[in-house]
């Protein structure tokens, strides 16, 4: 960044002008090399050069939302990571999970976190839940070129809505496609390679107005079903004590289930499957 400063030491005017409250728009002027989606890629498919992150599920509850993700990243037939974390808080009241090329996904997620915080600090107020989702859709759209060469990344966004249009619907879930399409989901959604199986499990078990605890259990069950049928999704690893990352967003803010909490839930789910493998 220092190279941009003129010899007098004065900041360049794009630092001080009123222009934009968006961090990504600002980076466009200040340090475009920090933005994803504008690096020239060699022609051809490059899908297998980097680890892929897999299944994420999100469930709307009576109090907000719950989001869970398995811990596996794959590279072709190899397990690239057993303990990658793919679900993160986006800000105090919302969560983001990523599936697809892990490196680009993590960069997108970090940028999105800064984007939300930046807006909050500049404007002194938080973006609306829909505003956050739209912003994320724009960032996914920027990655379309890389996506067409096999480096696709698709996030799942869910949050507690502080000013919902319908007071009964405080938990909101948004899914995206690689072209930046934005879709609001009702009740639950899943993304990633195991999403087909996770969604089928959720379809059978989901009921509107779940409590957060029930939704956590349901998320772990759905991830178990995904791991059951999809090699790229990791199940609860009892030998290494690696369990899914599960987070909730409610009026109290975001909360990541502690090791002890998630261990208890995962052990219950595994014990249940000992009796009945189909859940």
């Amino acid at each position: 960044m220092a190279k941009d400063f003129d010899p007098s030491g004065r900041m360049p005017d794009y630092f001080t002008n009123a222009g934009t409250s968006s961090f990504t728009q600002f980076l466009n002027h200040a340090s475009p090399e920090l933005l994803p989606g504008r690096r020239p890629l060699p022609p051809g498919l490059s899908a297998d050069i980097a680890p892929h992150a897999t299944t994420i599920v999100a469930i709307a509850t009576a109090e907000g939302v719950v989001m869970g993700g398995d811990r596996r990243a794959t590279m072709g037939n190899l397990i690239a990571s057993r303990d990658i974390e793919k679900v993160h808080p986006a800000d105090s009241y919302s969560l983001i999970g990523i599936a697809g090329t892990a490196g680009i996904g993590i960069e997108l997620m970090r940028l999105f976190q800064v984007e939300l915080e930046h807006y909050e600090k500049i404007e002194g107020t938080m973006l609306s839940t829909d505003g956050k989702a739209n912003r994320l859709a724009g960032m996914v759209r920027g990655n379309l070129g890389a996506a067409m060469q096999g480096l696709a990344v698709v996030p799942l966004f869910a949050g507690y809505d502080l000013s919902p249009a319908d007071p009964a619907k405080v938990g909101r879930i948004f899914s995206f496609d690689v072209a930046g399409g934005l879709y609001e989901e009702t009740g639950y959604d899943a993304i990633g390679s195991g999403s087909l199986f996770a969604k089928s499990a959720l379809k059978k078990k989901y009921r509107a107005g779940l409590s957060t605890d029930d939704a956590v259990r349901l998320a772990v069950e759905a991830l178990y079903d995904a791991a059951d049928d999809d090699t790229a999704t990791g199940g609860p690893d009892l030998t290494r004590k690696i369990f899914p990352v599960v987070m909730s967003a409610t009026a109290n803010g975001t909360h990541r289930l502690t090791e002890a909490e998630i261990t208890a839930v995962a052990e219950q789910v595994v014990a249940g499957r000992m009796e009945n493998p189909g859940g």
Binding site: S8, G9, F15, A18, S92, V114, H118, K121, T254
Partner: protein, 289 residues
Amino acid sequence: MAMQFYASPEQVQRDRSEYARKGIARGRSAVVLTYEGGILLVAENITTLRKISEIYDKIGFAAVGRYNEFESLRRAGIRMADVNGYSYDRRDVTGRFLANAYTQTLGAIFTETQKPYEVEICIAQVGSSPETDELYRITYDGSVMDEPGFMAMGGQAEAISNVLRERHDATAELPAALALAAQALGSVGGENGQTRKLDQKQLEVAVLDRRRKGRAFRRIQGPALIQLLEGLKDVLDKDLGGVDAAPPPPPAADKPTVSAAAEEDAADKPEAEPTDPAAPADGVNGDGS
């Protein structure tokens, strides 16, 4: 073509300094001081436009003078901090780095442009104890001073500083620190040299809470500020002092601390300055005319 009169560089600098100092002295004041639990930032401010802001995790910003000028500096600080934190790590953003950038910028503006900025700003970085707190005062000409635990700027800053110098105590708790700040700000500006008693509507208050992980900045307003000004500290110990975790308090009215969520409520009010010609000229938005 008319000949320009010769003015010596000394004269030009003196004129600019005088111009900037006058502009700053016309406005209302702000004070920043350390206390046991963090750093307290208080500005006398009757508008909804803000003089105090969050910059980064441990760093806060307070300013006096012309609003448009310090607002653009505030934005620049947030932008620089976020770019640095994004490209390195959150821990790599420091108050000194920001103070350096501000001093360079204000210095260049002072020497190169016709009109200097009529602002004085404070960059505060909270540490793990009052001894490790950092307060930087950056003035209109780009000079920077590392202040010892308290500072006053704008208006009759000298008189306010004297009150703080006599009574500042880095081991005081928040209600005592706020009472001192309010008294110091009220020690000037009364009729016939009387002191004034400032209430919740006249004060903009925020803290950098040293016990919080992550973003330490908390704005204190509404019922919480009233309680605090009345010296109720039990309520606050629970919510400010004791809270160490990331989850913000829910946006319920009975919670004294103010999260970003509650700020949203406050922001529902129109942000524009009331254009009442009878309203007293406030330094926050102009030249005092």
